[in-house]
Amino acid sequence: MNITAIAPKPPETPVIAASAGPLALYRAMLRIRLIEEEIANRYSAQEMRCPVHLSIGQEATAVGACAALRTDDQIVSSHRSHGTYLAKGGDLNAMMAEIYGRETGCCGGRGGSMHLFDDRVGVLASVPIVGSFIALGTGAALSFRHANQDRVCIVFLGDGAIEEGIFHESANFAALKKLPVIFFIENNGYSCYTNLEDRQPVRPLADVARAHGMPSVQIDGNDVMAVYAATSPAVARARAGLGPTLIVADTYRWREHCGPNYDNDIGYRTPQEFESWRARCPVETMGANLMAQGTLTKTAQAELATEIGAEIDAAFQFAIGSAFPDPATARDHVYA
C-alpha cells in the first residue's frame, strides 16, 4: 500500500502558531489548564466514568514541544495525554465526549481518557501501558522515512517509562537508523507515588542518551520558551535525516497520579515540595513575563480566559448532550 495515500492531508500551518509568538504559547497553556481544571471540578458528578490522569502543572512541556511541530508531524503519548493531545491541536469536543463515554468521542467511547488520538492533526495514539507507545512513535518515524517524507514524530514519555526495556530498544533502533523521532521525557520526578531516587541511580537522566549514541538536552520543563527552544533544533535535526534526540524536561504533576484531587497529604511527597513547584507555575510565570514585556495586559488576559471558558462550556455541553454509543455496535471493528 502507498503510505502517502493513507496519511491525512497535511495543512501546512503549525498547530500552535509559534510564529504567532509567545502569546500563542501562553494561550495554549492557559487553555489546557482551564480544561483540566474543569474536568477536575466536574469529576465528582460521576458522569466522567473513566480514570483521568491530569497534567496540570506540566502544560509547558506539551505546548512548547508541539509548537515546534507541523500539523502533519505526529506525536504519541501515554496515560497522561490530555495536554499533549490538546497542544497538538486535538479536537476538544472529541476528547470531552470520549471522557464522557459518548459516541462522538475520538474512540467512539471505546477508549476513555487514556486512549486519545486525532488523525487530522497527528495525534497518532496514546496508550496507557507504560512504554508501549515508545515503539509506536519510533515506527511512525520509520514510516516517514519509508515514504520519503520529512515528517517527524515526538514520543512523549514519563521518567518512569525510560525504565522499560522498550525505551532502550526503540532508542537503539532509532539511533541506528537515524529515524526522525524525538524522545521527549516529561520528568515529573514520580512514577505514581514512587520518586525517581527510589527507581533509578542518581545520574543526569539526559546521560542515558549517550548509551544510545544520540544527543540530549536537559531543560526547565516549566519554561515554555525553553521547551520550544530545545525542541526546535531537535525537530530540524530529525527532519534533516540526522536522527533522534533525547530531551529531558523537568516539571511537576500538581494533582494526584490518577484523579482530580491533591494528594500531598498521603505521605509520598511534601506540601513544601509541591508549593515550591506551584510557585513556578508554567502558566502564571509566562503570563507574568508577557505582562512585564508589555505583550499581555490584565484586560487581555481576562478576555482570553472568558473566550476559552466559553469554548470549554460548549465542549462539555457537546459531550453531555451527545448520545451514548449504541450497544449493538460493540462488536464492530474487531477486524479491519
Binding site: R49, G108, I129, V130, G165, T194, R199, P327
Partner: protein, 360 residues
C-alpha cells in the same frame, strides 16, 4: 484458639503475605507500588515498614527484567512474591514466565526450582477499558509448568496464597479487583488451603455449574434464586485453573447430565472450553442436554458504560443459562431474569453490587 474473623479478601491477602514473611525470611515481596502509600489497594499495607526495603522491594517499571530477576533469585532459594496492579502489566513479563519460570525445573531434569508467586489483579468497571480490565488467565493456564489460582472468597484468598508461597513451582495468583471487597470468615494463623481443585459451594442434582473468580459471586446469587424456583445447581468454584482437577466435575455431571461453565475470560480457547471438552471426553454418553459456556464476548473491553453494560455475564444471564440447560419453561426463565435484573440494576453496572460483598 481464635475464632475465624470476618475480613475482606484484600485484607486476607495482606495477612497471608505478612504471615509468610514472618515465618520464612526467604520470602520477599516485589512490585511497582508495594511500598507506596496506596500499597496495591491496601494488600501490602505496612509490610515495607515491618520488613524493610531488603524484603519489600519497590521496583522500577521493568516487568520482564524484574520477573527474570525474581526467577534467578528463586533458583538460589528466595521465594519472591511479585505483584502487578493489573494483569496487563504482566504481559511484558510473559517471556520470562513462559520461557524460564515454567520450564526451569523440567529442563534441569528436576534440579532447579522457581518458587515464585505472581499476583495479578483483574480490573473491572469505572470505564477502565481495553488495557486495564482484561481477564487473561487462559493465557497463563495454557502453559505446562505454571500453576494458576483464582480465589473468590476471603478464606481461599488467604489459604491459597499461603499454599502458593510454599509451593515449589511458579504460581500465577489472579485476584479479581471486585473479589478484594468480599468479606468472609477467615481462620487466623498459618492455615493453608491446598491447591487441589474445585470447591463445591452448593449441592444439587439438576445442573452442574462451574464458575471462577468474581463470577462465582454472581453465580452464587443466580443459584440462590434458581433454588427458590426448584432448580438445584451443583455449583463448583473452580479455584485452580491449572493443574485442572476435573474429577469432581465429571463425577457431578455423571449425576446431573447437564453442565454450565461461567468464566471471567474469553470463551474461545477458554477455561469453559477446556472443562467442557474434558467432561465430554469422559461422560459424553451421560449428557442430557448440550453443555453451555458463559464468558466474555469476542471483542476487547470498551470503556463507555453503554458498551460495557452487555459485556460481562451477570447473575440474570447466568440464572437464565442454567435454567435453559435445566429445561425450564420460557416463562419461568423470564421471571428469574427480571427478579435478578431488578436486584442487580439497583446500582450502576460499573461498580460492584453490595450483595456481592459477603460474608460468604
Amino acid at each position: 484458639m481464635h475464632e475465624p474473623r470476618l475480613i475482606t479478601a484484600g485484607e486476607a491477602i495482606r495477612e497471608a503475605t505478612d504471615l509468610a514473611m514472618a515465618a520464612d525470611p526467604s520470602v520477599v515481596l516485589m512490585g511497582e507500588g508495594v511500598a507506596d502509600p496506596k500499597a496495591i489497594f491496601g494488600t501490602t499495607a505496612n509490610l515495607s515498614q515491618k520488613y524493610g526495603p531488603q524484603r519489600v522491594i519497590e521496583l522500577p517499571l521493568s516487568e520482564n527484567g524484574f520477573t527474570g530477576i525474581a526467577i534467578g533469585a528463586a533458583m538460589n532459594g528466595l521465594r519472591p512474591i511479585i505483584v502487578h496492579q493489573r494483569v496487563e502489566f504482566c504481559l511484558l513479563a510473559m517471556e520470562q514466565l513462559v520461557n524460564n519460570a515454567a520450564k526451569i525445573h523440567y529442563v534441569s531434569n528436576g534440579a532447579h526450582r522457581a518458587p515464585i508467586v505472581v499476583r495479578l489483579i483483574v480490573g473491572r468497571g469505572w470505564g477502565q477499558g481495553p488495557a486495564h480490565s482484561q481477564s487473561l488467565e487462559a493465557l497463563f493456564a495454557h502453559i505446562p509448568g505454571l500453576k494458576v489460582v483464582m480465589p473468590s472468597s476471603a478464606a481461599d484468598a488467604k489459604g491459597m496464597l499461603l499454599a502458593s508461597i510454599q509451593d515449589d513451582s511458579p504460581v500465577i495468583f489472579i485476584e479479581h479487583r471486585w473479589v478484594h471487597y468480599v468479606k468472609g470468615h477467615v481462620p487466623p494463623g498459618m492455615q493453608t488451603v491446598p491447591l487441589d481443585g474445585p470447591h463445591r459451594l452448593r449441592e444439587g442434582d439438576a445442573v452442574t455449574v462451574v464458575s471462577n473468580s468474581y463470577l462465582t459471586l454472581e453465580t452464587i446469587r443466580a443459584a440462590e434464586e434458581l433454588a427458590k424456583e426448584g432448580i438445584a445447581a451443583d455449583h463448583f468454584d473452580l479455584r485452580v485453573i491449572r493443574p485442572l482437577n476435573v474429577a469432581p466435575i465429571v463425577e457431578s455431571v455423571r449425576r446431573t447430565g447437564r453442565l454450565v461453565t461461567v468464566d471471567t475470560g474469553f470463551m474461545t480457547y477458554g477455561i469453559g472450553a477446556e472443562i467442557v471438552s474434558r467432561v465430554m471426553e469422559q461422560c459424553c454418553m451421560q449428557m442430557r442436554a448440550s453443555p453451555r459456556r458463559l464468558g466474555l464476548p469476542e471483542y476487547p473491553t470498551p470503556s463507555s458504560r453503554s458498551l460495557a453494560a452487555a459485556y460481562y455475564p451477570r447473575s440474570p444471564d447466568i440464572a437464565a443459562a442454567i435454567a435453559e440447560v435445566a429445561g425450564a419453561p420460557a416463562a419461568r426463565i423470564a421471571s428469574l431474569r427480571s427478579t435478578l435484573s431488578a436486584d442487580r440494576e439497583s446500582v450502576p453496572l460499573d461498580i460492584p453490587h453490595h450483595s456481592f460483598q459477603g460474608p460468604f
